[in-house]
């Protein structure tokens, strides 16, 4: 495992994109290519469904999957560490623990990082422990749930949404529903305020608005065009470019996002210094040879959301291409894959958005297939069950 003279692939980041790529490179090379996955977390924590932890419908156990499946079933060498630097000429990555790993092809799936510099008040001591994002499932998910539990009835929960693109377009609106689900049951006089930098709800808009109007009337309030300019952490106050300050009991700030730090510092974030441009046939970086980038860090193709579902598909497309390139073959010239994304609007009922993406050889990017895809006609419990089915399957496809 990891030894021998065969080709070596190093994968950085064990989320939906990286874990899937690691598994499929092993599988599709008939276990002939060695794969090392570098991931700091002990287990995989799913962002999809993590909003259900905030409502108390699910616990952290439910969204946690160990990395054992990749090790035992596929012989992936999982290293719990972080990559601090990439030497693209020598084809080596440097680890925080001091070691190095050599690669023939490097797959980066480092997810998103937050642009804290856009919110100077968040640099204050202790600010990031008090005003949470909970946009990477983990300790912050648990901490935000605790803040909601500690909030008095009649209090206000305010969530700030950054301008698109950001990770998981419908996520903030689902979160508002889940917090309101908890409030309706435990703190019925409380309110949920959505302060959105975008003009309007950017995903599943009519379905979310219907849920807010019919299920959470008087509890959830949506305000578009609310671009956050800063946070006064001492007074729990949000500051906006064009609107009055807003104080709330619990603040949930989703800062603007960009590609994970290792991709940015390695010069791969060539689109606005935020996202990494790739060749959509191979996911190879346009800025560096032998380095592939996938998942949320990528400069997305048109109408391609930053979602776990998409990252899983990038992982497989990239894995097929990497195996082809390392065995002297030509990568698939016409990839096609789907995106399906569910959001829970209550404890049991969900809505979805689906799309089909295919390669356009003229535009050299992925485009959505016209006439395909769509959204739910209405929220319902059947889709809630399918949402769980989706989760169990994509977790297994990525990690087992």
């Amino acid at each position: 495992m990891g030894g021998g003279n065969g080709p070596k692939v190093v994968v950085v980041g064990g989320g939906f994109g990286g874990a899937t790529a690691a598994k499929y490179v092993r599988m599709w090379s008939d276990y002939g290519i060695s794969v090392t996955l570098v991931e700091p977390n002990a287990s995989f924590l799913s962002c999809p469904l993590s909003n259900l932890v905030l409502s108390g419908v699910k616990t952290m156990d439910f969204i946690t999957t160990p990395y054992d499946g990749l090790v035992k079933n596929h012989g992936v060498n999982v290293v719990h560490d972080s990559v601090t630097a990439i030497d693209a000429d020598k084809r080596i990555v440097k680890l925080a623990s001091g070691g190095e790993l050599a690669y023939d092809r490097l797959i980066l799936s480092p997810g998103v990082d937050f642009m804290w510099e856009a919110l100077p008040g968040m640099a204050a001591a202790g600010a990031k422990d008090k005003v949470l994002h909970a946009w990477k499932a983990g300790p912050q998910t648990v901490a935000l749930r605790k803040q909601l539990e500690a909030m008095p009835d009649g209090g206000v929960f305010a969530i700030s949404v950054p301008l698109a693109p950001y990770r998981c377009p419908p996520g903030p609106y689902e979160r508002a529903c889940q917090v309101a689900t908890y409030f309706a049951q435990a703190k019925p006089k409380s309110k949920v305020l959505i302060l959105d930098a975008n003009d309007d709800v950017i995903s599943k808009g009519p379905l979310f608005k219907k849920a807010w109007a019919e299920r959470y009337k008087g509890m959830i309030e949506y305000r578009g065009k609310h671009a956050l300019s800063d946070v006064d952490v001492a007074t729990n106050t949000l500051k906006f470019e064009f609107h009055e300050d807003l104080k709330a009991n619990v603040l949930n700030v989703l800062p603007p996002m960009r590609a994970g730090a290792i991709a940015v510092q390695s010069g791969l974030a060539t689109a606005n210094k935020r996202w990494c441009e790739v060749d959509f046939l191979t996911y190879e970086s346009k800025a560096a040879k032998n380095i592939h980038v996938l998942g949320d860090s990528m400069q997305s193709a048109p109408a391609m959301p930053k979602s776990g579902s998409m990252a899983n598909q990038h992982g497989k497309t990239c894995a097929a291409a990497v195996v082809a390139l390392l065995t002297g073959k030509t990568p698939n010239p016409s990839p096609i894959y789907t995106n399906t994304c569910y959001s829970f609007v209550s404890s049991k009922e969900a809505v979805h958005v689906a799309s089909v993406h295919t390669y356009d050889p003229v535009k050299k990017t992925m485009v959505t297939v016209a006439g395909a895809g769509g959204v739910s006609t209405a929220a319902n419990a059947v889709e809630g069950e399918y949402a769980y089915g989706w989760a169990r399957n994509i977790w297994a496809d990525s990690l087992v």
Partner: protein, 100 residues
């Protein structure tokens, strides 16, 4: 017109001949797109249908019915419309041949 079509598909095939068993790998990749919901190798975790080992005619008819709108679903009638008849046929053959 048909002659022209054949001429162009000949060109495309010529371009692909360096790619060993191109079609098989292409279909495998296309089928892997279904795995996010229907499991790796078409073997689903609870809550979704297995595709592996399902008779080709059954899978193909179901997908064609989703595509034509004859049959509705929560999601599949929307996704089936994104695939050509040829692609649906390839997917149905692929999953029918997998062991369950």
């Amino acid at each position: 017109m048909k002659k022209v079509d054949r001429f162009f598909s000949g060109l495309v095939l010529a371009g692909l001949c360096s790619w060993a068993s191109a079609d098989a790998l292409q279909v495998r990749s296309m089928a892997a797109g279904c795995a996010a919901c229907h499991g790796t190798h078409g073997m689903a975790a609870p809550g979704m249908d297995d595709l592996a080992g399902t008779k080709k005619e059954i899978l193909l008819k179901r997908m064609q019915d989703f595509k034509s709108g004859k049959r509705t679903a929560t999601v599949m009638h929307q996704l089936a419309k994104g695939y050509s008849d040829e692609q649906l046929e390839q997917l149905a053959s692929y999953f029918a041949a997998l062991k369950n």
